[in-house]
Symmetry: D5
Subunit: 147 residues, 10 copies
């Protein structure tokens, strides 16, 4: 058994138990964004969070222990994602990659937006022409330093 197996269990149990990610997040006491990423094997849970998740999905103790182990992260099965929804995000990096780079450097100088000290929120944005997906990302700016 490894973390990947536990993720597969959670995915299957969530469907069988008809739980929404929002409900899971409410039990865990964290945002639905972080909670979903954690349940999908991208974040590390503490003992209390793991206990909640284990109870919600009926995990064994051994499975629950894996939730507290720092996982090997990365949820794509190929360098270029094949699922249309995930591909659109990849396309945004492809089309807007140099734009992100220019504008962040213009505003902050040389450095990066952290993908670690990072949070995001995803919500519905009502629109008469069809509702929109609205995502707010916030990552700490980390400057390159001379030495």
């Amino acid at each position: 058994m490894n973390r990947h197996d536990v993720t597969e269990r959670i995915v299957a149990e969530r469907i069988a138990r008809k739980l929404s990610w929002a409900e899971v997040a409410k039990h865990v006491g964290k945002s639905k964004e972080w909670t979903t990423a954690a349940c999908l094997g991208q974040m590390t849970l503490d003992a209390q969070q793991a206990a909640v998740v284990a109870k919600l999905f009926g995990l064994t103790e051994a499975e629950s222990a894996w939730l507290m182990v720092t996982p090997a992260k990365g949820s794509l099965s190929s360098p270029v994602p094949t699922d249309p929804l995930i591909y659109r995000f990849y396309e945004l990096v492809s089309v807007y990659g140099t734009t992100f780079k220019e504008l962040i450097h213009e505003e902050f100088g040389d450095g990066i937006m952290s993908a670690i000290d990072f949070r995001m929120e995803l919500k519905r944005e009502p629109d008469p022409n069809g509702d929109r997906v609205n995502i707010v990302m916030s990552g700490k700016f980390l400057p390159y330093k001379t030495y």
Copy 2:
């Protein structure tokens, strides 16, 4: 000469002329996000926008004509980007890809967030622990339809 050559010209001229993207955008009359992407060869300019950009960067008429041609898009030179700043965005897709998928499907059902009917805004988010990069993305939800 092709669009790529024109992009390289703009990149070099902007440095020589010490213009910021924000200034360019003000002249063009569009957001700095769209303007930067357009100048970097990812969007199509109309005649008036092209005239403004050509004047700002001292482009020839032939170069200016290319700005109005729909470009072959995609600004990455390899499937996995090597520049650290751009890679962080790729990493976000890698780590959060399945989370995006789950949460969008939970909220909207089967479909995608459009990367075409899309806009974004990038700004500085002041923070006592170090300022943050704040990006708001908004893309129309497009549902899969049965037929």
Copy 3:
């Protein structure tokens, strides 16, 4: 168990039960194109459709539940398909890719043909020199917007 396993079950059961895709589609009440894609794990079924499919192929309740979960899409096992029939479609994209791009931009301006708001029909086109495969594709044009 995951969606992929359910797809493999359906594929095997269809052969054993000697059902044509056209017959399956008639039971589901949708086109044979959409129905086949859905049964092959590329589309999401609603409760009623899933019940019909489950009955036709003798699926368990757990298997049937997977049909209603939005699948991770993409049916190719490598970036360049190896099956000769599927490769021919890839070759069409390779040979006609820039032609599609030029003609759509000439007719509609900058934007894309949606692969989401999309439908297609595949039928036999009788021809004295040998019958032909006739495919009609229809996808909504989505324009890039300035902002």
Copy 4:
């Protein structure tokens, strides 16, 4: 000089001379689909067609000679296309690849749709919810033969 250089010349001249592909096709006397593919270096022109194209774009005799040479075909610069418009076609092959395969085999038996004995037509399909791109493809069915 090679065919690729001639293609680049044509692409640049068409923009400078403000010719539409439909106009080019009318002069050549073939469909806009075939003519565009031919001008983009994917098809071979005969002497008369080459003369028309050479005159339209102001090509030299040496450049014109290349139009009559069978080209090395394939217009994508990477196995997975990066331009969003062309990628959507690749995505269709990815999502519907096995569906194409199943339905063609169901209708015709083992074999392929020819990408050589092939024609297509691309037109605007008016729609109150937004016009659509309509593509009709027709390729001869080629059966595998036993021997």
Copy 5:
């Protein structure tokens, strides 16, 4: 169970039953070239052929049914084959690829040699300096057509 499993069964049974491909072909009533390809999962058998093969290798009815399903073709496990014998054929395509192209176009004009309407024969060519492998390939020429 899928076609690949059936192929693996046939491969193992042939060794255990000490059958040569030539013998299998004689029972099937087709050439050894077609028969081998069919048994290795690259061609579709009809009911009678499948019955013969099933009897020769002791296949179950379910396994036999798979022989009549059009297979997903392509027998290489990587884009560049690693087995020295198969690699030599790949090398021939690499070294002689442009020669094939030039000579076929010189003789026939623009088009291809069909890999579908195709047959081949492989035999021993006695030679005092060491016997040779002799392969005769015959594929229908398919011309590109204007439209």
Copy 6:
């Protein structure tokens, strides 16, 4: 200047001088298959052959010298060829690769068909249903030896 440049010169000169490969081969005194491969940079010419080729295509002495240098071989620009004609040969290796392997081992035992001690002939095979491309390959069998 390198061999590749000389190949490009020959390709361009052949078109300008309207020479067929068959004519070139007659002057060189070798088969059209070997001669074409040699002119396309895959074989080494001796002094006399190089002189003939240089005269036919108007090569300089320095260019002619390159013809006598053993070239870096391999005429494909990517692992999987994109040109439809050349791809069909790759597809034959993909579909028939394991068949080649089985039948050669059945006839000769463990070893390979040499791609070095190799010759081939390509000709038109008249056929009332459409002429065919006929290719005869002959390569020495090389057995693996124990030691």
Copy 7:
């Protein structure tokens, strides 16, 4: 002209002018590690540093301006480096990658070692059995945060 061209100029000038990187660093007033990386196009110089470097290598004003532009980083020309010296570092990541991961997580919890807030020093470590390369790396630990 782009940053890559400037890097090539510096590399060639350093050889012609017989300057060591240590000398360059002394003039710039930073460590030899940072200075070398900066001159090789991986870091951004400020106006004063750029002036020093421009004078040392005889750069034009336009070239010097590029030194102050944040570069597109990444100095490897392929995903797996081919130069033996650089490959050894890649091999260390390959062999010790999971060890780095385990030990950093054991000491710090979930998070990463920053490659941005990072410094390193490379020096000779005398050893009677043959001198050794000694590298000290120091990168800030960045913890993943819940939200």
Copy 8:
């Protein structure tokens, strides 16, 4: 069973038995860096070390035997690592690769830093702005020799 299976067993047992790598190393009597790499299948243990590890993790005799077999090394599952922590090390090779090369050649001449005659130490470096990961690497310099 192979070495990879034994590594997976150790990984799982360590979590279940709540052992730190530092504790394991103390029992083995080697550094935590070497011990972790060895337990993760990258180094070969001698009989005594294997006995200690087997006892700590409750391995069978057959499993223990594998620890003494030289393993097939390399702990990354793809050429470019996807886990963020391990990727940062890859990024360091990408950004600093040519810097490593220049500085080692400047100090030692042509040659490499050995990745075999190599040791490293990883520790916490306290810092008021946030603690840092400190890694000291020491590898023997191996010069290229003429002959």
Copy 9:
């Protein structure tokens, strides 16, 4: 069961039975180089050799039969090997590849060193500065022939 499974059995049994490859070779009556390659699934054994190997490793009759089947060769799991020992050989091909080519062509003319009619011997070369691995390779030169 396939040849790969038999190879895995042999690998595991050799460790359990504490047999050296030199001992296995002595029983088989061939060199340790050929014998090891054969046991690792790269060569074909005759009936007598297979019987010896089967007895040494306790193989079943079915497993033994696989040893006499010509295997699908190639022992690397990725195009660029990751194991440091095997990588060094790949690096030799990378660094010395063009040198091999120049010197063989200088000595023999156009052609190759056969990797089929090939033998090698690997032994310890005592050296006061540390013993060396000494490998002698001998492969028949195969000339390209005109035709």
Copy 10:
């Protein structure tokens, strides 16, 4: 100008001046193996060697200076070499890679054969059945050390 350009110059000059590598080596005073590798941009020459080479090939002083700069090594243009002669060496690594590994570990324990402290000799081995290429490689064994 860079080292690669100098290598191209040497390659072209050697052909024009009709120098053999053996002659070049005699002038340099080193083996033909090392000398060829050095001239092809894989080794570093000292001042005296560079002067000899520069005189032999008529290099400028600037070109000659590059010979003394440690080159970026690796002479293959793709991960899997396409030239048949070089590919055979790659195939040997593929087929015999695990054999090299087993036999070196059996003789020496865990470690590698150095590709740096390495020399080789390539010569003709007369044989009545056709002369053979004989290559002797000698590389220092480097053991992995515990710490």
